[in-house]
């Protein structure tokens, strides 16, 4: 993460804003609401740089953990918050070939610092995406739908008619899993925490394409077997919770893989020895940040935009927040049972 804030000369080939653009800065690890917005002098536009007007950037749990200093990837401080978002190219250095002014771009990797109105980024840190998808959809495409797509594709060879079980089905990734699986003819069993407005949540997930929505409590009950009269036992389990929830999901996996990508319960994953030996269950993990480091992923973004265009992948439930109200948005994003993603409009 680089602030690009130590400009020496004004860039030659770059449209400058009339004022220095603001960014959400944090100088030490701690309470996210202790961050501040600051005006930042734009870096000069080097030959391989791209001048970007950020359009929208969500607040994800990983962003919060990075500010709190508890994430596995921590930036040098002071840093700009935010790892995801979409921007429009305003200008490019003379050696830049992958984007032209007007293009939309996403961060190619975590750690770019997206919570700012404008920035000059090195070309290789950006990824061009089609600009015929809704801006809020593009802003949230780089992490959650990518994670969902890769987890469905990379661990088991699923075919139409196969099924997948997931907990935290209401999360950004969970909703993307439902839609991407549906588009591929894969059935989903979706586990959520019980809550006062459960019927509403069930209705929403079913409208996205969920085949079954059950609570953590129902997952432990013998009636679970009724579900498997109409749907095959899952070959893939996606675990964002850990603890009991993960152990219970595993009970319904006769073989296949459980992929852990989050630990909302703050408890480890516990697996009976017999599941490994006699059921040949495989346990893996997934971290989009590592995947992006290891792979090209521009094709993935294009595939996801294709799903968006076909109406198979929608914009997640979100709340648009102007930059000046970012503190309230950070607070809202840390509340339990948050169903709506906070997206900063920049």
């Amino acid at each position: 993460m680089n602030s690009h804030g130590s400009a020496v000369d004004p860039p030659q080939s770059c449209h400058r804003s009339s004022v220095d653009p603001p960014w959400i800065r944090y100088g030490s690890a701690g309470d996210p609401t202790n961050t501040s917005t600051e005006d930042l002098e734009l870096a000069p536009l080097g030959d391989s740089d791209v001048h970007v007007k950020m359009l929208a950037a969500p607040i994800n749990p990983a962003d919060i953990n990075m500010i709190q200093g508890t994430y596995a990837l921590l930036p040098e401080l002071p840093a700009v918050g935010g790892n995801e978002g979409v921007g429009r190219v305003l200008g490019v250095g003379r050696r830049v070939t992958s984007v032209t002014p007007g293009d939309w771009v996403l961060p190619a990797d975590a750690g770019l610092g997206t919570w700012r109105t404008e920035a000059v980024f090195p070309e290789e840190t950006l990824l061009r995406v089609p600009r015929d998808v809704p801006v809020l959809c593009a802003a949230t495409l780089g992490v959650n739908p990518c994670t969902a797509y890769r987890m469905l594709a990379d661990f088991e060879s699923l075919r139409p008619g196969d099924s997948v079980i997931q907990n935290a089905a209401n999360s950004g990734v969970g909703q993307a899993v439902i839609q991407i699986a549906r588009a591929a003819g894969i059935r989903t069993i979706n586990v959520v925490r019980d809550r006062p407005d459960l019927p509403k949540l069930v209705e929403r997930l079913v409208s996205l394409g969920a085949d079954h929505v059950i609570t953590e409590e129902m997952l432990r009950k013998p009636d679970m077997k009724d579900i498997f009269k109409s749907i095959p036992k899952p070959r893939l389990a996606l675990n964002c919770v850990g603890g009991k929830s993960a152990t219970e999901m595993l009970r319904h996996l006769p073989r296949g893989t459980m992929v852990t990508y989050g630990g909302m319960a703050k408890q480890p994953v516990t697996v009976p020895v017999s599941a490994f030996i006699f059921k040949d269950v495989k346990l893996r993990g997934f971290w989009m940040t590592q995947w992006k480091k290891d792979q090209m992923h521009s094709k993935l973004a294009v595939s996801l935009c294709e799903l968006v265009r076909k109406g198979q992948l929608g914009t997640p439930a979100c709340t648009e927040v102007p930059l000046e109200d970012y503190r309230a948005a950070l607070e809202a994003s840390m509340k339990p049972f948050t169903s709506s993603k906070q997206i900063l409009i920049l």
Copy 2:
């Protein structure tokens, strides 16, 4: 598992013993010492059958669990005990092509019932092995060294200089892991339970080729880092224990795979979510019985005999027991801290 006890006509092409050969029979699940030896009429030698004189058969923990009725694979009762052993071919049916009289054979699969002096087996249930290895070595080749070989070969691409960590390092599989790894130039970190005769055990495992032998307690101490000054961090962990032991081994695995093949602690495997996500640790299981069902393994037995001939894989520490003393042998095999395998001489 088949008793082959309901003979109708005496076989034509088969050397018969002067008396019906005895076998160790159990009619219901329960205490292994409640089994009995019985004389059993030999089945007739069909065209595709092989008449075998069993030479030696070990008592393995899985045999005990099968008799107790707690194993994942249970035979029809009454059944003959024992899943491993070596026999000499006495005669063959006229359509048999894979073995001739004088050959040594192992069971191709679990469930054959090896605790008997003679039997008529279908050809496809047997596997020819070279007969220039010690009989006690051949008798114990089919399960433990095969398991060790496959676990070292099938999960991570290990190269000379790489290291492996394993618990229950004193088990039959553990000792085979030490020797097979040594022969391949792979270093081993071997975890054992503390015990009164620890120095003697350490000496024995080191003489087999162990690079480091540590207790479960030492595994949890900060000095573990000293080991990694002279040896790289392991890329493969072999877990026969579960519980704390497995969790502690995982802490020393920076990435790579932990393979669970036993659960001596009778406690599940517990894994922090972060190990999956940020370290990309993979958890798998291994069950030789399933592997044998899925794969051809005569080549594997030949490879292992090659290691035996080169002096790189020895006969495990064992106690030879005449068949009539089998009850004492069963009792001895169920005692804790058993270092010596009981082998029935038939």
